[in-house]
């Protein structure tokens, strides 16, 4: 892990889905009509690939695939 700090990005979904739950477990405000909890988890679902991409890009830069 010391040699690949970029892997810390893989913890992002754990933070988005699980760590933030106490803050996002609510109906209001609604976003685009979606209750807030559902909006947040949809956002997390779209951001997870981005987080894994950042981990992957870090490996690429280091010459690992």
């Amino acid at each position: 892990m010391k040699k690949r700090p970029n892997l810390l990005w893989l913890l992002a979904p754990y933070v988005l889905y699980l760590g933030t739950l106490p803050l996002v477990d609510r109906v209001h405000p609604t976003v685009l009509g979606l209750p807030f909890l559902f909006f947040w988890l949809l956002l997390a679902t779209l951001l997870t690939p981005a987080a894994v991409f950042l981990a992957w890009r870090g490996d690429r830069k280091r010459g690992r695939a």
Binding site: P13, Y17, D25, G33, P35, T45, P49, F53, D59
Partner: protein
Amino acid sequence: MSGDAAVASAIFGGFMLLTVALGLLAVRGHGRTTGLAEWSVGGRSLGTVFIWVLMAGEGYTSFSYLGAAGWGYNHGAPVLYVIAYMSCGYALGYVVGPTLWSYARRHGLVTITDMVAHRYGRPWLGTAVAILVTVCLLPYIQLQITGMGVVVSTISYGAISLNWAYFIAFAVTTGFVVVSGLRGSAWVSVLKDLMVIVTLGFLAVYVPLHYFDGYGPFLDRIVAEKPDWLTFTGHGGSGLGGSWYVTTSFLNSLTVVIFPTTVAGYLGARNADALRRNAMLLPFYNVLLFVPMLLGMAAIFVVPGLTGAGSNLALFKLVVDSLPAWAVGVIGVAAALSSIVPMAVFMLVIGTMWGKSVLGAIPRLAARPDRQKTAAQVVVVAAGTLALVLTYTEPNTLVRLSLISYEGMAQLVPMILLGLVWRRMTLWGAVSGLAAGGALVCWLVFTGHDPVWGVNAGAVALVVNLAVALAVSFWGPRTADARPDEEVLASDPGRDPDRDAGGDTDPMGGVVSGAVYHRND
């Protein structure tokens, strides 16, 4: 048979024939390759696209159509744990996938029980774990059979009886997986994912428009009238609160990366980078899971009063109620394929484990991969038949077992994940931890203490499991193992091994090119 029933049944029947044909075609050009690795893990030759299709195919089971909609209907928010654990598990797979893949490749292993036997240097441990995992997987096969049964019976407007539908599920799946193994499953997954994406995409747009004049009014109504569905603990005193959601999602995200069917997908990859790319691409598939959950909640307004198993049909009640027969048939096919693909891989994994780790431990089979493959194929049929017969005769036995399936499988996490990176984990440490965690999870679940103190019982058992495994490893008996660390432990391969790996296994290249290239699970 009414006109509607005939149309829907004919479409369903046609697609089932297509499924078997596709599954069998997959093996063309590879059929003469004997040996377990070609059948069990597709010759370790699948590229990014096939891996994506297959892994998405495995992950999106009949639960997605039935259970997800049913939970959404009954409880609402708690069902979101499915999306959470799958996304976290896919991200974790970025590291775990390549690690297991390179370990298996280096040592010629085809399944997790094989890895366990290699890591701890004890074939009997592989045998024991294989039996344990089989007990955990059989209920899943039955769940797919019954899931497909109710779907087929519903979409045929009752023309196909439940018992016949169960049999069709078994026959279609066995029909191709015995011959073409993982590769056939990947090919069928292509059809499945295509149909799932199209039908769910369509339903996501159509249902709110048809019943509520669009998303705005639908969402407004649910926020105004059903707010208790929209946060934890959800509706109906489920007892599934935020702490249950967090512990379950966390536990399942660790379990899914060592789940034998996931690992079968990992091992099928041509190189490690295909797995890393998939870790990026797979979470997108989870967006589709929101659809049955939302539609299940829409059904609260349209078909109120479903209870028990009936709520699992929340989604299909809407479909049958609002669409013409041909569309009902097509959507039914997508749901049926969502049972067939996971069932195929479950059966494949059971066959592989037995061929290699149970029957393969018999001296006469030990050095004969061709005979191991035959043995594995026989076990596939036997396991499927057993699940089918139990579905008819003792449905409740497997339902009870399914309660501990996932949480029981989670107890393998220390033995496999920790054991593969930490040399000091001893054989007896791993075994004691597994025994303690397994016993605790059985006791908690079967005495009705899941969740326990609001926390997933499997997670509690995993903590105990880990503590016991560490304690026994530090202070318990040591068994001599002279092999060097490189032989015993696994690590994430760097880039160069990938390149090497890409060079020598090409057989899939020709098949895949121009077709599909991912696998999702």
